[in-house]
Amino acid sequence: MSDAEVVLALALGVLFTAGTFLVLRRDLVRVVFGVLVLSQATNVYLVTMGGIGGVAPILGHGGTITDPLVQALVLTAVVIGFATTALLLVLVYRTYQEHGSIDLDDIQGAVR
Protein backbone atom coordinates (compact mmCIF):
# COMPACT_ATOMS: atom_id res chain seq x y z
CA MET A 1 0.00 0.00 0.00
CA SER A 2 1.52 3.25 -0.94
CA ASP A 3 -1.30 5.64 -1.72
CA ALA A 4 -2.93 7.93 0.77
CA GLU A 5 -6.32 6.65 1.81
CA VAL A 6 -8.83 9.46 1.69
CA VAL A 7 -11.79 7.37 2.78
CA LEU A 8 -9.95 5.82 5.65
CA ALA A 9 -8.60 9.18 6.76
CA LEU A 10 -12.03 10.78 6.72
CA ALA A 11 -13.67 7.89 8.54
CA LEU A 12 -11.04 7.94 11.26
CA GLY A 13 -11.40 11.68 11.48
CA VAL A 14 -15.13 11.36 12.10
CA LEU A 15 -14.62 8.59 14.67
CA PHE A 16 -12.09 10.63 16.59
CA THR A 17 -14.21 13.75 16.42
CA ALA A 18 -17.22 11.91 17.78
CA GLY A 19 -15.15 10.23 20.50
CA THR A 20 -13.60 13.49 21.60
CA PHE A 21 -16.93 15.25 21.70
CA LEU A 22 -18.37 12.47 23.85
CA VAL A 23 -15.48 12.56 26.31
CA LEU A 24 -16.11 16.24 26.90
CA ARG A 25 -19.72 15.72 28.01
CA ARG A 26 -21.21 16.09 31.49
CA ASP A 27 -22.86 12.71 31.46
CA LEU A 28 -20.41 10.18 32.83
CA VAL A 29 -21.80 7.37 30.70
CA ARG A 30 -21.24 9.41 27.59
CA VAL A 31 -17.65 9.93 28.66
CA VAL A 32 -17.31 6.17 28.75
CA PHE A 33 -18.85 6.00 25.27
CA GLY A 34 -16.25 8.46 24.12
CA VAL A 35 -13.34 6.50 25.53
CA LEU A 36 -14.66 3.37 23.83
CA VAL A 37 -15.05 5.05 20.46
CA LEU A 38 -11.55 6.45 20.71
CA SER A 39 -10.01 3.09 21.52
CA GLN A 40 -11.92 1.43 18.66
CA ALA A 41 -10.71 4.07 16.27
CA THR A 42 -7.14 3.67 17.46
CA ASN A 43 -7.32 -0.06 16.81
CA VAL A 44 -8.61 0.48 13.30
CA TYR A 45 -5.83 2.88 12.72
CA LEU A 46 -3.25 0.44 14.03
CA VAL A 47 -4.41 -2.34 11.72
CA THR A 48 -4.15 -0.10 8.71
CA MET A 49 -0.55 0.63 9.62
CA GLY A 50 0.26 -3.01 8.89
CA GLY A 51 -1.32 -2.78 5.48
CA ILE A 52 -4.81 -3.84 4.52
CA GLY A 53 -4.22 -4.78 0.95
CA GLY A 54 -2.59 -8.18 1.47
CA VAL A 55 -3.99 -11.50 2.50
CA ALA A 56 -4.37 -12.76 6.05
CA PRO A 57 -1.03 -13.63 7.64
CA ILE A 58 -1.55 -17.36 7.62
CA LEU A 59 1.12 -19.23 5.74
CA GLY A 60 0.07 -21.38 2.89
CA HIS A 61 -2.57 -19.02 1.48
CA GLY A 62 -0.12 -17.47 -0.94
CA GLY A 63 0.21 -13.86 -2.06
CA THR A 64 1.52 -10.81 -0.20
CA ILE A 65 0.53 -11.04 3.41
CA THR A 66 -0.34 -8.20 5.75
CA ASP A 67 1.99 -7.40 8.63
CA PRO A 68 1.42 -9.99 11.36
CA LEU A 69 3.33 -8.11 14.06
CA VAL A 70 0.90 -5.21 14.00
CA GLN A 71 -2.04 -7.54 14.20
CA ALA A 72 -0.50 -9.18 17.23
CA LEU A 73 -0.18 -5.77 18.83
CA VAL A 74 -3.77 -4.86 18.00
CA LEU A 75 -4.98 -8.14 19.43
CA THR A 76 -3.17 -7.30 22.65
CA ALA A 77 -4.61 -3.81 22.59
CA VAL A 78 -8.14 -5.11 22.11
CA VAL A 79 -7.83 -7.43 25.08
CA ILE A 80 -6.32 -4.75 27.28
CA GLY A 81 -9.02 -2.41 26.07
CA PHE A 82 -11.59 -4.84 27.35
CA ALA A 83 -9.90 -4.99 30.75
CA THR A 84 -9.81 -1.23 31.00
CA THR A 85 -13.41 -0.89 29.88
CA ALA A 86 -14.55 -3.25 32.61
CA LEU A 87 -12.53 -1.32 35.14
CA LEU A 88 -13.86 1.97 33.89
CA LEU A 89 -17.46 0.83 34.14
CA VAL A 90 -16.88 -0.37 37.68
CA LEU A 91 -15.33 2.95 38.58
CA VAL A 92 -18.35 4.71 37.15
CA TYR A 93 -20.54 2.50 39.26
CA ARG A 94 -18.47 3.22 42.37
CA THR A 95 -18.60 6.91 41.69
CA TYR A 96 -22.36 6.75 41.34
CA GLN A 97 -22.51 4.86 44.63
CA GLU A 98 -20.55 7.50 46.44
CA HIS A 99 -22.03 10.58 44.84
CA GLY A 100 -25.49 9.43 43.88
CA SER A 101 -25.09 11.11 40.52
CA ILE A 102 -23.48 10.60 37.17
CA ASP A 103 -23.54 14.26 36.28
CA LEU A 104 -19.91 15.39 36.34
CA ASP A 105 -20.98 18.88 37.36
CA ASP A 106 -22.32 17.43 40.60
CA ILE A 107 -19.28 15.25 41.13
CA GLN A 108 -16.68 17.93 40.75
CA GLY A 109 -15.41 19.32 43.96
CA ALA A 110 -15.50 16.48 46.45
CA VAL A 111 -11.75 16.29 46.15
CA ARG A 112 -10.95 19.93 46.55
Binding site: M49, V70, A77, T84, L87, L91, T95, A110
Partner: protein, 490 residues
Protein backbone atom coordinates in the same frame (compact mmCIF):
# COMPACT_ATOMS: atom_id res chain seq x y z
CA UNK B 1 26.67 -15.98 43.06
CA UNK B 2 25.15 -15.04 39.77
CA UNK B 3 21.47 -14.23 39.95
CA UNK B 4 19.19 -14.45 36.94
CA UNK B 5 18.92 -11.00 35.47
CA UNK B 6 15.20 -10.73 36.20
CA UNK B 7 15.37 -11.81 39.84
CA UNK B 8 13.83 -8.57 41.19
CA UNK B 9 10.91 -8.82 38.79
CA UNK B 10 10.36 -12.48 39.70
CA UNK B 11 10.48 -11.66 43.38
CA UNK B 12 7.84 -8.96 43.02
CA UNK B 13 5.53 -11.02 40.83
CA UNK B 14 5.73 -14.09 43.04
CA UNK B 15 5.23 -11.99 46.15
CA UNK B 16 2.04 -10.60 44.64
CA UNK B 17 0.73 -14.11 44.10
CA UNK B 18 1.89 -15.12 47.57
CA UNK B 19 -0.02 -12.22 49.10
CA UNK B 20 -3.21 -13.41 47.44
CA UNK B 21 -2.57 -16.98 48.58
CA UNK B 22 -1.75 -15.99 52.13
CA UNK B 23 -4.96 -14.00 52.22
CA UNK B 24 -6.94 -17.17 51.70
CA UNK B 25 -5.30 -19.07 54.55
CA UNK B 26 -4.77 -16.68 57.43
CA UNK B 27 -7.19 -15.50 60.08
CA UNK B 28 -8.43 -11.96 59.55
CA UNK B 29 -7.05 -10.59 62.79
CA UNK B 30 -3.38 -10.88 61.96
CA UNK B 31 -3.52 -10.59 58.26
CA UNK B 32 -2.62 -6.94 57.87
CA UNK B 33 0.76 -7.19 59.56
CA UNK B 34 1.68 -10.32 57.68
CA UNK B 35 0.69 -8.87 54.32
CA UNK B 36 2.46 -5.58 54.94
CA UNK B 37 5.53 -7.45 56.09
CA UNK B 38 5.50 -9.66 53.03
CA UNK B 39 5.14 -6.68 50.72
CA UNK B 40 7.89 -4.73 52.42
CA UNK B 41 10.13 -7.78 52.39
CA UNK B 42 9.51 -8.28 48.69
CA UNK B 43 10.32 -4.64 48.02
CA UNK B 44 13.53 -4.74 50.00
CA UNK B 45 14.52 -8.08 48.51
CA UNK B 46 14.00 -6.89 44.97
CA UNK B 47 15.98 -3.73 45.71
CA UNK B 48 18.70 -5.86 47.27
CA UNK B 49 18.73 -8.20 44.29
CA UNK B 50 19.01 -5.21 41.99
CA UNK B 51 21.95 -3.90 44.00
CA UNK B 52 23.50 -7.34 43.86
CA UNK B 53 23.09 -7.49 40.11
CA UNK B 54 24.70 -4.08 39.77
CA UNK B 55 27.55 -4.94 42.11
CA UNK B 56 28.09 -8.17 40.19
CA UNK B 57 29.00 -6.00 37.25
CA UNK B 58 26.94 -7.90 34.73
CA UNK B 59 26.70 -5.88 31.56
CA UNK B 60 23.70 -5.71 29.31
CA UNK B 61 21.58 -8.84 29.12
CA UNK B 62 18.95 -9.15 26.42
CA UNK B 63 16.09 -11.50 27.16
CA UNK B 64 13.03 -12.95 25.45
CA UNK B 65 14.07 -12.34 21.94
CA UNK B 66 14.97 -8.73 22.57
CA UNK B 67 11.75 -7.83 24.38
CA UNK B 68 13.63 -7.01 27.56
CA UNK B 69 17.13 -5.75 28.19
CA UNK B 70 18.55 -5.65 31.68
CA UNK B 71 21.35 -3.18 32.35
CA UNK B 72 22.61 -0.90 35.08
CA UNK B 73 19.69 1.50 34.62
CA UNK B 74 17.26 -1.37 35.18
CA UNK B 75 18.87 -2.31 38.45
CA UNK B 76 19.14 1.32 39.53
CA UNK B 77 15.46 2.04 39.07
CA UNK B 78 14.37 -1.34 40.33
CA UNK B 79 16.12 -0.43 43.54
CA UNK B 80 14.17 2.84 43.67
CA UNK B 81 10.86 1.08 43.08
CA UNK B 82 11.64 -1.63 45.61
CA UNK B 83 12.60 0.86 48.30
CA UNK B 84 9.56 3.06 47.73
CA UNK B 85 7.27 0.03 47.71
CA UNK B 86 8.78 -1.15 50.98
CA UNK B 87 8.33 2.26 52.60
CA UNK B 88 4.78 2.48 51.34
CA UNK B 89 3.98 -1.02 52.54
CA UNK B 90 5.36 -0.36 56.00
CA UNK B 91 3.36 2.85 56.24
CA UNK B 92 0.25 1.19 54.86
CA UNK B 93 0.31 -1.23 57.76
CA UNK B 94 -1.17 1.52 59.88
CA UNK B 95 -3.04 3.34 57.16
CA UNK B 96 -5.21 0.57 55.73
CA UNK B 97 -5.72 -1.27 58.99
CA UNK B 98 -9.39 -0.39 59.02
CA UNK B 99 -9.97 -0.96 55.32
CA UNK B 100 -11.32 -4.13 53.72
CA UNK B 101 -9.52 -6.20 51.08
CA UNK B 102 -6.04 -5.53 52.28
CA UNK B 103 -4.67 -8.43 50.30
CA UNK B 104 -5.86 -6.83 47.07
CA UNK B 105 -4.27 -3.56 48.13
CA UNK B 106 -0.87 -5.09 48.79
CA UNK B 107 -1.06 -7.32 45.74
CA UNK B 108 -1.80 -4.31 43.55
CA UNK B 109 1.13 -2.42 45.04
CA UNK B 110 3.38 -5.37 44.29
CA UNK B 111 2.05 -5.88 40.79
CA UNK B 112 2.47 -2.22 40.01
CA UNK B 113 6.02 -2.36 41.33
CA UNK B 114 6.67 -5.40 39.17
CA UNK B 115 5.26 -3.50 36.21
CA UNK B 116 7.56 -0.59 36.93
CA UNK B 117 10.59 -2.82 37.06
CA UNK B 118 9.54 -4.30 33.72
CA UNK B 119 9.26 -0.76 32.38
CA UNK B 120 12.84 -0.26 33.51
CA UNK B 121 13.83 -3.24 31.39
CA UNK B 122 11.62 -2.65 28.36
CA UNK B 123 13.42 -2.99 25.09
CA UNK B 124 10.63 -2.69 22.58
CA UNK B 125 7.67 -0.39 22.18
CA UNK B 126 5.19 -3.22 22.66
CA UNK B 127 6.74 -4.27 25.95
CA UNK B 128 6.81 -0.63 26.95
CA UNK B 129 3.10 -0.24 26.27
CA UNK B 130 2.25 -3.41 28.17
CA UNK B 131 4.37 -2.52 31.17
CA UNK B 132 2.81 0.92 31.21
CA UNK B 133 -0.66 -0.60 31.36
CA UNK B 134 0.55 -3.02 34.01
CA UNK B 135 1.43 -0.04 36.15
CA UNK B 136 -1.55 2.12 35.26
CA UNK B 137 -4.38 -0.28 36.06
CA UNK B 138 -3.36 -0.98 39.65
CA UNK B 139 -2.72 2.72 40.04
CA UNK B 140 -6.32 3.58 39.11
CA UNK B 141 -7.57 0.96 41.50
CA UNK B 142 -5.32 2.04 44.35
CA UNK B 143 -6.41 5.64 44.00
CA UNK B 144 -10.04 4.58 44.27
CA UNK B 145 -9.30 2.18 47.10
CA UNK B 146 -10.65 4.12 50.06
CA UNK B 147 -13.98 2.84 51.23
CA UNK B 148 -16.78 5.35 51.73
CA UNK B 149 -14.65 8.19 50.55
CA UNK B 150 -16.27 10.10 47.74
CA UNK B 151 -13.02 11.86 46.85
CA UNK B 152 -11.20 8.60 46.38
CA UNK B 153 -13.62 7.15 43.85
CA UNK B 154 -13.89 10.45 42.01
CA UNK B 155 -10.14 10.85 41.85
CA UNK B 156 -9.78 7.31 40.56
CA UNK B 157 -12.31 7.97 37.84
CA UNK B 158 -10.72 11.17 36.63
CA UNK B 159 -7.30 9.60 36.75
CA UNK B 160 -8.64 6.71 34.74
CA UNK B 161 -10.26 8.71 31.97
CA UNK B 162 -7.25 10.93 31.45
CA UNK B 163 -5.07 7.81 31.66
CA UNK B 164 -7.13 6.02 29.03
CA UNK B 165 -6.86 8.99 26.70
CA UNK B 166 -3.14 9.20 27.24
CA UNK B 167 -2.62 5.55 26.59
CA UNK B 168 -4.63 5.92 23.38
CA UNK B 169 -2.27 8.72 22.41
CA UNK B 170 0.69 6.52 23.24
CA UNK B 171 -0.60 3.66 21.11
CA UNK B 172 -1.26 6.13 18.34
CA UNK B 173 2.30 7.33 18.60
CA UNK B 174 3.65 3.80 18.57
CA UNK B 175 1.66 3.05 15.45
CA UNK B 176 3.01 6.13 13.71
CA UNK B 177 6.55 5.19 14.57
CA UNK B 178 5.87 1.73 13.30
CA UNK B 179 4.40 3.13 10.12
CA UNK B 180 7.63 4.94 9.46
CA UNK B 181 10.05 2.23 10.48
CA UNK B 182 8.34 -1.15 10.47
CA UNK B 183 9.93 -2.28 13.72
CA UNK B 184 9.21 -2.15 17.45
CA UNK B 185 12.54 -3.15 19.05
CA UNK B 186 14.65 -0.31 20.38
CA UNK B 187 17.86 -1.43 18.72
CA UNK B 188 16.13 -2.02 15.40
CA UNK B 189 14.44 1.37 15.71
CA UNK B 190 17.77 3.05 16.24
CA UNK B 191 18.94 1.58 12.94
CA UNK B 192 15.69 2.30 11.14
CA UNK B 193 15.38 5.95 12.06
CA UNK B 194 18.75 6.89 10.63
CA UNK B 195 18.01 8.54 7.33
CA UNK B 196 14.36 7.52 7.50
CA UNK B 197 12.29 8.68 4.55
CA UNK B 198 9.05 9.30 6.46
CA UNK B 199 10.16 12.20 8.55
CA UNK B 200 6.71 13.65 9.10
CA UNK B 201 5.15 10.45 10.34
CA UNK B 202 8.12 9.71 12.54
CA UNK B 203 8.09 13.21 14.00
CA UNK B 204 4.39 13.05 14.82
CA UNK B 205 4.86 9.61 16.34
CA UNK B 206 7.71 10.75 18.52
CA UNK B 207 5.81 13.70 19.96
CA UNK B 208 2.82 11.44 20.60
CA UNK B 209 5.10 9.11 22.53
CA UNK B 210 6.30 12.09 24.53
CA UNK B 211 2.66 12.72 25.36
CA UNK B 212 2.25 9.17 26.62
CA UNK B 213 5.27 9.49 28.89
CA UNK B 214 4.15 12.91 30.03
CA UNK B 215 1.05 11.30 31.48
CA UNK B 216 3.01 8.78 33.47
CA UNK B 217 5.47 11.38 34.74
CA UNK B 218 2.77 14.00 35.40
CA UNK B 219 4.41 16.49 33.08
CA UNK B 220 2.78 19.16 30.98
CA UNK B 221 0.52 18.76 28.99
CA UNK B 222 -0.78 15.59 30.65
CA UNK B 223 -0.36 16.60 34.25
CA UNK B 224 -3.93 17.50 35.08
CA UNK B 225 -4.81 14.29 36.75
CA UNK B 226 -2.02 14.51 39.31
CA UNK B 227 -3.29 16.96 41.95
CA UNK B 228 -6.69 15.39 42.26
CA UNK B 229 -5.49 11.82 42.06
CA UNK B 230 -2.84 12.44 44.73
CA UNK B 231 -5.24 14.29 46.92
CA UNK B 232 -8.07 11.85 46.65
CA UNK B 233 -5.92 8.76 46.98
CA UNK B 234 -4.85 7.24 50.28
CA UNK B 235 -1.68 9.12 51.27
CA UNK B 236 0.65 6.09 50.95
CA UNK B 237 -0.70 5.57 47.44
CA UNK B 238 -0.05 9.21 46.62
CA UNK B 239 3.49 8.67 47.83
CA UNK B 240 3.80 5.58 45.70
CA UNK B 241 2.44 7.19 42.56
CA UNK B 242 4.26 10.46 42.84
CA UNK B 243 7.62 8.82 43.57
CA UNK B 244 7.84 5.37 42.04
CA UNK B 245 5.34 5.64 39.22
CA UNK B 246 6.84 8.93 38.12
CA UNK B 247 10.34 7.48 38.17
CA UNK B 248 9.06 4.54 36.12
CA UNK B 249 7.68 6.90 33.50
CA UNK B 250 11.02 8.63 33.37
CA UNK B 251 13.14 5.54 33.05
CA UNK B 252 10.97 4.39 30.19
CA UNK B 253 11.24 7.76 28.49
CA UNK B 254 15.00 7.67 28.92
CA UNK B 255 15.21 4.17 27.52
CA UNK B 256 13.08 4.96 24.51
CA UNK B 257 14.77 8.21 23.65
CA UNK B 258 18.32 7.14 24.35
CA UNK B 259 18.16 3.63 22.93
CA UNK B 260 15.61 3.87 20.14
CA UNK B 261 15.71 7.47 18.98
CA UNK B 262 19.36 8.53 18.89
CA UNK B 263 19.58 12.29 19.00
CA UNK B 264 22.17 12.51 16.27
CA UNK B 265 19.99 10.65 13.78
CA UNK B 266 16.99 12.78 14.66
CA UNK B 267 18.86 16.01 14.36
CA UNK B 268 19.94 14.93 10.93
CA UNK B 269 16.25 14.41 10.11
CA UNK B 270 15.39 17.84 11.46
CA UNK B 271 13.51 16.63 14.55
CA UNK B 272 15.45 17.96 17.55
CA UNK B 273 13.34 16.29 20.22
CA UNK B 274 15.48 17.74 22.99
CA UNK B 275 13.83 21.04 22.20
CA UNK B 276 10.40 19.60 22.96
CA UNK B 277 11.66 18.34 26.28
CA UNK B 278 13.29 21.67 27.07
CA UNK B 279 10.03 23.51 26.49
CA UNK B 280 8.08 20.93 28.46
CA UNK B 281 10.62 21.09 31.29
CA UNK B 282 10.28 24.84 31.59
CA UNK B 283 6.50 24.84 31.42
CA UNK B 284 6.18 21.87 33.74
CA UNK B 285 8.39 23.17 36.51
CA UNK B 286 6.98 26.66 36.31
CA UNK B 287 3.36 25.58 36.25
CA UNK B 288 3.83 23.11 39.09
CA UNK B 289 5.62 25.55 41.32
CA UNK B 290 3.36 28.49 40.59
CA UNK B 291 0.26 26.45 41.24
CA UNK B 292 1.75 25.06 44.44
CA UNK B 293 2.56 28.50 45.80
CA UNK B 294 -0.83 29.29 47.29
CA UNK B 295 -2.20 25.91 48.10
CA UNK B 296 -3.80 25.75 51.49
CA UNK B 297 -4.11 22.00 51.39
CA UNK B 298 -0.88 20.21 52.25
CA UNK B 299 -1.41 17.13 50.16
CA UNK B 300 -2.36 19.20 47.17
CA UNK B 301 0.67 21.40 47.62
CA UNK B 302 2.86 18.30 47.54
CA UNK B 303 1.00 17.15 44.45
CA UNK B 304 1.72 20.35 42.55
CA UNK B 305 5.29 20.37 43.75
CA UNK B 306 5.57 16.87 42.40
CA UNK B 307 4.68 18.26 38.98
CA UNK B 308 7.45 20.80 39.47
CA UNK B 309 9.91 18.03 40.20
CA UNK B 310 8.95 16.24 37.02
CA UNK B 311 10.07 19.42 35.31
CA UNK B 312 13.49 19.21 36.94
CA UNK B 313 13.91 15.58 35.95
CA UNK B 314 12.98 16.46 32.37
CA UNK B 315 16.17 18.50 32.21
CA UNK B 316 17.91 15.14 31.87
CA UNK B 317 16.27 14.71 28.47
CA UNK B 318 16.31 18.34 27.47
CA UNK B 319 20.01 18.92 28.07
CA UNK B 320 21.35 16.09 25.97
CA UNK B 321 23.82 17.51 23.55
CA UNK B 322 25.83 14.75 21.95
CA UNK B 323 29.17 14.24 23.64
CA UNK B 324 29.07 11.09 25.74
CA UNK B 325 30.62 12.53 28.88
CA UNK B 326 28.24 15.46 29.26
CA UNK B 327 25.24 13.32 28.32
CA UNK B 328 26.18 10.77 30.94
CA UNK B 329 26.53 13.56 33.47
CA UNK B 330 23.12 15.07 32.86
CA UNK B 331 21.27 11.77 32.54
CA UNK B 332 23.00 10.54 35.67
CA UNK B 333 21.94 13.72 37.45
CA UNK B 334 18.36 13.14 36.45
CA UNK B 335 18.55 9.51 37.62
CA UNK B 336 19.96 10.41 40.98
CA UNK B 337 17.38 13.16 41.33
CA UNK B 338 14.66 10.57 40.89
CA UNK B 339 16.40 8.31 43.40
CA UNK B 340 16.62 10.96 46.09
CA UNK B 341 13.16 12.17 45.21
CA UNK B 342 11.90 8.63 45.70
CA UNK B 343 12.82 8.76 49.36
CA UNK B 344 12.21 12.43 50.06
CA UNK B 345 8.84 12.76 48.42
CA UNK B 346 7.63 9.43 49.74
CA UNK B 347 8.61 10.55 53.20
CA UNK B 348 6.78 13.85 52.82
CA UNK B 349 3.56 12.18 51.70
CA UNK B 350 3.86 9.67 54.51
CA UNK B 351 4.06 12.50 57.03
CA UNK B 352 0.77 13.62 55.54
CA UNK B 353 -0.48 10.07 56.05
CA UNK B 354 0.57 10.37 59.67
CA UNK B 355 -1.29 13.64 60.03
CA UNK B 356 -4.36 12.15 58.41
CA UNK B 357 -4.22 9.32 60.87
CA UNK B 358 -4.03 11.79 63.74
CA UNK B 359 -6.96 13.62 62.23
CA UNK B 360 -5.23 17.01 62.33
CA UNK B 361 -6.91 18.13 59.15
CA UNK B 362 -5.65 18.90 55.71
CA UNK B 363 -4.74 22.56 55.53
CA UNK B 364 -1.66 24.50 56.53
CA UNK B 365 -3.52 26.04 59.45
CA UNK B 366 -4.38 22.60 60.72
CA UNK B 367 -0.70 21.76 60.76
CA UNK B 368 0.19 24.86 62.77
CA UNK B 369 2.27 24.08 65.80
CA UNK B 370 2.52 20.40 65.03
CA UNK B 371 6.10 20.57 66.26
CA UNK B 372 4.88 20.93 69.84
CA UNK B 373 3.00 17.66 69.92
CA UNK B 374 5.05 15.70 67.38
CA UNK B 375 8.63 17.01 67.28
CA UNK B 376 10.11 13.99 65.53
CA UNK B 377 7.63 13.97 62.68
CA UNK B 378 7.92 17.74 62.34
CA UNK B 379 11.70 17.64 62.24
CA UNK B 380 11.49 14.94 59.61
CA UNK B 381 9.04 17.03 57.62
CA UNK B 382 11.28 20.09 57.78
CA UNK B 383 14.30 18.12 56.58
CA UNK B 384 12.34 16.52 53.77
CA UNK B 385 10.77 19.76 52.57
CA UNK B 386 14.01 21.69 52.64
CA UNK B 387 15.65 18.88 50.75
CA UNK B 388 12.86 19.03 48.17
CA UNK B 389 13.50 22.75 47.87
CA UNK B 390 17.13 21.96 47.14
CA UNK B 391 18.64 23.37 50.30
CA UNK B 392 21.72 21.54 51.50
CA UNK B 393 20.02 19.65 54.30
CA UNK B 394 19.39 16.59 52.18
CA UNK B 395 20.52 14.79 49.07
CA UNK B 396 18.11 16.82 46.96
CA UNK B 397 20.65 19.60 46.94
CA UNK B 398 23.27 17.58 45.09
CA UNK B 399 20.94 16.24 42.49
CA UNK B 400 19.33 19.57 41.70
CA UNK B 401 22.73 21.12 41.56
CA UNK B 402 23.98 18.40 39.23
CA UNK B 403 20.94 18.88 36.98
CA UNK B 404 21.41 22.61 36.65
CA UNK B 405 25.10 22.11 36.14
CA UNK B 406 24.34 19.63 33.39
CA UNK B 407 22.04 22.13 31.73
CA UNK B 408 24.72 24.80 31.90
CA UNK B 409 27.31 22.49 30.43
CA UNK B 410 25.04 21.73 27.49
CA UNK B 411 24.75 25.44 26.86
CA UNK B 412 21.16 25.67 28.11
CA UNK B 413 21.78 28.63 30.38
CA UNK B 414 18.19 29.71 30.28
CA UNK B 415 16.99 26.30 31.37
CA UNK B 416 19.27 26.34 34.39
CA UNK B 417 18.18 29.89 35.16
CA UNK B 418 14.51 28.93 35.05
CA UNK B 419 15.35 26.00 37.27
CA UNK B 420 17.03 28.22 39.82
CA UNK B 421 14.16 30.68 39.85
CA UNK B 422 11.79 27.79 40.31
CA UNK B 423 13.83 26.48 43.20
CA UNK B 424 13.50 29.84 44.87
CA UNK B 425 9.79 29.78 44.20
CA UNK B 426 9.50 26.30 45.64
CA UNK B 427 11.19 27.44 48.81
CA UNK B 428 8.40 29.99 49.01
CA UNK B 429 5.75 27.36 49.62
CA UNK B 430 7.82 24.70 51.34
CA UNK B 431 8.85 27.32 53.86
CA UNK B 432 5.20 28.11 54.45
CA UNK B 433 4.63 24.58 55.61
CA UNK B 434 7.77 24.49 57.72
CA UNK B 435 6.73 27.81 59.19
CA UNK B 436 3.30 26.44 59.95
CA UNK B 437 4.70 23.39 61.66
CA UNK B 438 7.57 24.93 63.54
CA UNK B 439 6.82 28.60 63.97
CA UNK B 440 3.09 29.13 64.00
CA UNK B 441 1.36 28.70 67.30
CA UNK B 442 -1.30 26.05 67.68
CA UNK B 443 -4.71 26.75 69.06
CA UNK B 444 -4.28 24.18 71.77
CA UNK B 445 -1.07 22.63 73.00
CA UNK B 446 -0.11 19.40 74.58
CA UNK B 447 -2.22 16.98 72.55
CA UNK B 448 -0.95 13.49 73.16
CA UNK B 449 -0.33 11.83 69.82
CA UNK B 450 -0.24 8.11 69.24
CA UNK B 451 2.79 6.85 67.41
CA UNK B 452 1.80 4.41 64.70
CA UNK B 453 4.92 2.27 64.43
CA UNK B 454 4.74 1.60 60.72
CA UNK B 455 4.34 5.15 59.47
CA UNK B 456 6.83 6.48 61.99
CA UNK B 457 9.44 3.96 60.95
CA UNK B 458 8.87 4.74 57.29
CA UNK B 459 9.15 8.52 57.61
CA UNK B 460 12.22 8.30 59.82
CA UNK B 461 13.92 5.96 57.38
CA UNK B 462 13.05 8.30 54.53
CA UNK B 463 14.53 11.28 56.37
CA UNK B 464 17.65 9.41 57.44
CA UNK B 465 18.31 8.26 53.89
CA UNK B 466 17.71 11.80 52.60
CA UNK B 467 20.27 13.26 54.98
CA UNK B 468 22.68 10.38 54.43
CA UNK B 469 22.55 11.16 50.73
CA UNK B 470 23.74 14.67 51.50
CA UNK B 471 26.70 13.45 53.52
CA UNK B 472 27.66 10.50 51.38
CA UNK B 473 26.06 10.80 47.95
CA UNK B 474 28.85 9.00 46.16
CA UNK B 475 27.25 5.55 46.20
CA UNK B 476 24.11 6.72 44.47
CA UNK B 477 25.92 9.04 42.12
CA UNK B 478 28.29 6.36 40.89
CA UNK B 479 25.44 3.91 40.42
CA UNK B 480 23.44 6.54 38.57
CA UNK B 481 26.51 7.27 36.52
CA UNK B 482 26.83 3.62 35.52
CA UNK B 483 23.10 3.51 34.77
CA UNK B 484 23.35 6.58 32.57
CA UNK B 485 26.39 5.20 30.83
CA UNK B 486 24.54 1.99 30.07
CA UNK B 487 21.90 3.94 28.18
CA UNK B 488 23.94 6.74 26.65
CA UNK B 489 26.68 4.64 25.17
CA UNK B 490 24.62 1.56 24.43
Amino acid sequence: MALPALTPQYVLGLAALLVLVVDAFTPTSRKNGLLAGLTALAGVTSAGAAAWLYAGGAGRTTLFDGALAVDASTSFFTAVFGCVAALVAVASYDYVREEPHQSAYYALVLLATAGMSVMAAANSLVTAFLALELVSLPAYALVAYLKRDAGSAEAGLKYFVVGALSSAILVYGISLVYAATGVFGFAALADAVAGNAHVTVLGAGVVMLIGGFAFKTASVPFHFWAPEAYEGAPAPVSAFLSSASKAAGFVLAFRVFLLAFPLAAFEALGIPWTLVFAVLAVVTMTLGNVAAATQTNVKRMLAYSSIGHAGYALIGLAALSGPTSSDVAVVGASFSHLFVYGFTNTGAFLVVALAERWGVGRTFEDYAGLARSAPVASAVLAVLLFSLAGLPVGGGFWTKYALFLGAVQSGLWWLAAVGVVNSALSLFYYSRLVKAVWVDAPDETGVARERPTGIYAAVVVAAVVTVALLVAPDVVFSWADAAARALVSA
